[in-house]
Symmetry: C2
Subunit: 599 residues, 2 copies
């Protein structure tokens, strides 16, 4: 059986060398985010994950959360107790600013802590994840009274939070939201409507749940500019902070899903018995705008799910490949059967899983570090520069990493052969769990449209071209390397950057003239950006690794492995850039040609 | 809700134009395989599939087959009755030669009939599929008495058949088979051992099951040359053909799988109560050799699963995309929300699903037609030529098509957005069901090793280069086309063939010198061959479609769609050839570099 172990050496390397955590620790408010402190936190998280969360992962899958009479949800055996331990150990407030009662660790470090939760128990981790989202909304736009009422309990994990956006007719298209909020004249509203796909909309962990709900007031304009954000607690809160009356909100059913079975995905009914009492957050009609401000954090968080699930799938596949003995070495006529990790195709899959996981992690942590600078760097120009970089990277971290996690968890099943298809082996669960990540919080298509439209087309590609210029600058440095691996890596990186630049310029040039043609290539464009941007971080890592090897410093096995992994990534993934350029710039003809009726 | 409809126009086109069914109908024994007869059969199969099999597909998934006390298996509600109908309608013997009581339809036609069963109810269809496998074994090597005893009942579907190869320690590596067969001196054997992953090893459809079992006799040499094939009926057969004593073989459990829940995957225990009575098929110690003879048919059949599941996933996705209204047209500022089929990225996914499905189907049916010529063509040279072609194509039909079906069913989920993750929507089932197809009957890695090793390396690439020469010959014809679509298709096809040739020559040249390096690229090599060989069939189809359009013949919408689909396939898939060449010829360094301990 494979057990989860956080990849500590790799995490330390990424923080130290790629995220440059020493620079983050200089930022006001992040003085505690030193490498030593970070690694201490990560090690603790790793222990908690391995000892408490991971052993429940399969139980969670087989039992699932169950809806029960009285609008209750029973989470799988052990989850309630694990949540209590998780909360008591202080993990719920890890990323929340100290002024609201959290530990305020830097985003770069938190990225790895979150990765660990996802690796160990994706479905469990969604409850604290959604709570953090609700906390952010209240931190951002809640009144001081509202903050005082809800935040301490939520940060401490004593209450959890949910985000209620989707309705049956309004998925990606929130303009179609129909839930109503009727002002009662006393500052409160009565909320009516049905919300679907509400993660942990009901649970048995805590005695209250704070729902954040999008709805329309009677005077609201149509479309996206008429949506307001409300707080709707499951139990109202008395003046003294104790729990009051049960509010008119109920989980009327939960979905039967492909994966993340332990995470109850609820249909929430508001106002079936007179109206759920809600309180507006910020101003009326600005709900969607608030959602957009929180969107980067939410999408980033889902991107990390891709990393965590990939790491876990990789570890499980390696364990199986070492253990499973089958067939002789290729080219051997006689001799005994060998562990399948010896077979070239199994190695190819394991390398592919490993290389992609490292690439995703590097991209996520570097983006996390930029989020830290965006938030705390005293230099306004650095903050602006970081924000632009983050805005460009978010669709990659979300869209590309979750898409890539599909390949990784797919190979995780494949390495297991027949056992991969048997649920007991565990590989299939990662595959099923991962499948949601390209869908929720905006599908891959929506991330790709965000990248090509909002992030590049709309600003004439300013940030995108600036980031490509940074890649070119790094390429000039990489071009001086002389080892065969680095020369090979550089060749693919340089070609990929060139193709990326030409393709991005093509997209900018055609954005107004052939918008359907440009958008037809949006997902391959996202993929091209994801591969090249993460390949850039991998190439940075390989160059540093070579410098350490040349200097005779540190763990030689780690550094040579990092170079091998980057070499693999270059020849198998960066090498796709030329094809992707063709697909994007020439592929729309075939995409758009056929008559709609002919499908 | 989406319902299944067989793509009749497309099927007719493929039979008529690509498989050249008129030529098949001239072969002795296939006189009935005219286009008209074929289409009549296909239409009937389509009706049966839509009316009887498809309505059970989701029930089959949610209920699954259940193991019950007394070593029984209860199949899902309605399956037993559907099997009875299926059998009574004569479908079980459709592909079996008339001399053994079947209808003897040509492989090309049967390919499409089988596709229809897979589309409608993959899990159901596995029982007749395995029975055909067992029938082939008995047709091939069973004694006349054995054939007389078993074949009539099996061909009529009154008894089903199974194939028992795998053991816990012996998956792909059948050299490790340990099941024992002890001769009793009366021509019978007693069989002892455990077999796993036995599809329909037990069921409640029929009153007997004929198991074909690999086992070793006490005097057998070690390894693959000491394996014999036995018939082990669940109930022994009396002299008069009635059922006799219950044999000592039991399904002791069934697996919990990712998909194909209705298909019971059994652990079979032989000989726990004194030994299961078995009869040797053919000669002792030649069991694996017999398996190899049947392997093409078995792998071909699994390849068709890829086609069928892809077609079904495509139809479901199109239905959803037409129905689901969400967001405005790209580039529109105001206006109403539109059906998502309007959105360029949804169209890209639908086109991708469609193009890949048509490519897989074309490859399968053309290979099926070659199997017909291999079997029945009076010209020995044509038979040999066809056999070589078939041998080369089988790993593509199995390995590439099933791998491609993963992409197609993946997109099928993605088109559904959030609903894709909800099991009720049905898209997730196709995704889960399809996942087995790259695993059983030899994983993709094993197909790729077969291609690069047995089919190309071992014969110095003779057949492979001859097939590439045929592609070049067709390319010269295609080069004369002048419409923009055909010019674009030709550009990608010509590049792909060139890259394929260079890569194949590289593989041949390095097969002895760097065998690990060559095998490290086996799966990308399989993919390259799959894309190019199926792209060749698509390009043939597009050229014919253009000729029909030019002549003003036939259904213009069908022909223009065929050209658009081929254009898409060219720009999105054939365009990958240059990258694949790099991955194969340069990618092994990264694959093989890292120390095994460092994983």
């Amino acid at each position: 059986m494979s057990t989860y172990t956080p990849p500590l050496k790799e995490m330390e390397f990424v923080l130290r060398e790629l995220a440059q955590i020493d620079e983050i620790a200089k930022l006001p408010g992040y003085e505690d985010s030193t490498l030593d402190t970070a690694m201490a936190i990560i090690e603790e998280a790793g222990k908690f994950a391995s000892n408490v969360l991971e052993p429940l992962n399969r139980t969670g899958d087989t039992q699932g959360s169950q809806w029960q009479e009285g609008y209750k949800v029973k989470t799988p055996d052990g989850f309630k107790e694990a949540y209590k331990e998780f909360r008591e150990a202080g993990w719920t407030g890890m990323s929340i600013d100290a002024e609201h009662g959290g530990q305020g660790i830097s985003v770069a470090v938190n990225t790895l802590v979150e990765e660990i939760w996802r690796s160990a128990n994706h479905a469990f981790s969604l409850c604290p994840l959604l709570t953090v989202g609700a906390i952010h909304a209240l931190e951002l736009k809640g009144s001081p009274e509202m903050q005082a009422k809800y935040l301490p309990k939520m940060v401490a994990g004593e209450w959890t939070g949910t985000m209620n956006l989707t309705e049956p007719q309004a998925g990606s298209d929130l303009a179609l939201v129909r839930s109503r909020a009727e002002p009662q004249g006393d500052g409160t509203y009565k909320i009516f409507g049905t919300k679907i796909f509400i993660t942990y909309g009901e649970q048995d962990y805590t005695d209250n749940i704070i729902h954040l709900v999008l709805a329309r007031t009677p005077t609201a304009p149509e479309g996206v500019k008429g949506i307001s954000l409300f707080v709707v607690p499951k139990f109202l809160i008395n003046e003294d902070g104790t729990l009051g009356a049960r509010n008119d909100v109920n989980a009327v059913s939960i979905e039967h899903k492909l994966g993340i079975h332990a995470s109850p995905t609820c249909v929430m009914q508001y106002g079936d018995h007179g109206g759920a009492i809600g309180y507006v957050v910020g101003e009326e009609n600005r709900g969607l705008e608030y959602m957009f401000i929180m969107m980067n954090a939410a999408r980033f968080a889902v991107g990390i799910e891709g990393v965590g699930l990939s790491e876990r799938a990789y570890q499980r596949a390696v364990a199986y490949a070492r253990d499973r003995v089958q067939s002789r070495d290729v080219g051997e006529k006689g001799g005994a059967s060998v562990p399948i990790i010896r077979h070239p195709d199994i190695r190819r899959m394991l390398m592919s899983m490993r290389a992609q996981t490292e690439a995703m992690r590097a991209l996520a942590v570097v983006t996390g570090a930029a989020m830290d600078h965006m938030k705390r760097n005293p230099d306004e120009q650095v903050r602006q520069h970081s924000r632009a970089f983050v805005d460009l990277m978010i669709p990659l971290v979300k869209g590309w990493s979750t898409d890539t996690a599909q390949n990784v968890t797919y190979d995780g099943v494949q390495v297991h052969g027949g056992m991969g298809y048997i649920e007991e082996a565990g590989a299939a669960q990662h595959y099923r769990d991962a499948r949601i990540t390209t869908i929720y919080e905006g599908t891959t298509g929506i991330q790709a449209n965000d990248l090509i439209g909002r992030k590049i087309g709309r600003e004439g590609g300013r940030t995108a071209l600036a980031v490509i210029a940074e890649m070119e600058k790094f390429d000039a440095k990489l071009a001086k390397a002389t080892t065969p691996d680095l020369v090979a890596i550089r060749a693919q990186f340089a070609s990929a950057v060139k193709a990326l630049k030409e393709t991005t310029e093509w997209a900018i040039a055609n954005f107004n003239g052939d918008i359907r043609g440009v958008f037809a290539g949006a997902v391959p464009f996202l993929k091209m950006w994801g591969i090249t941007a993460s390949g850039w971080q991998m190439a940075r890592a390989a160059l540093i690794a070579q410098q350490r090897l040349d200097a005779g410093e540190g763990d030689a096995t780690f550094y040579t492995s990092k170079i091998a992994t980057t070499r693999f990534f270059a020849d198998h993934f960066l090498a796709q850039a030329s094809t992707l350029k063709h697909v994007i710039t020439a592929g729309s003809a075939g995409t758009l040609e056929m008559a709609e009726e002919a499908f």
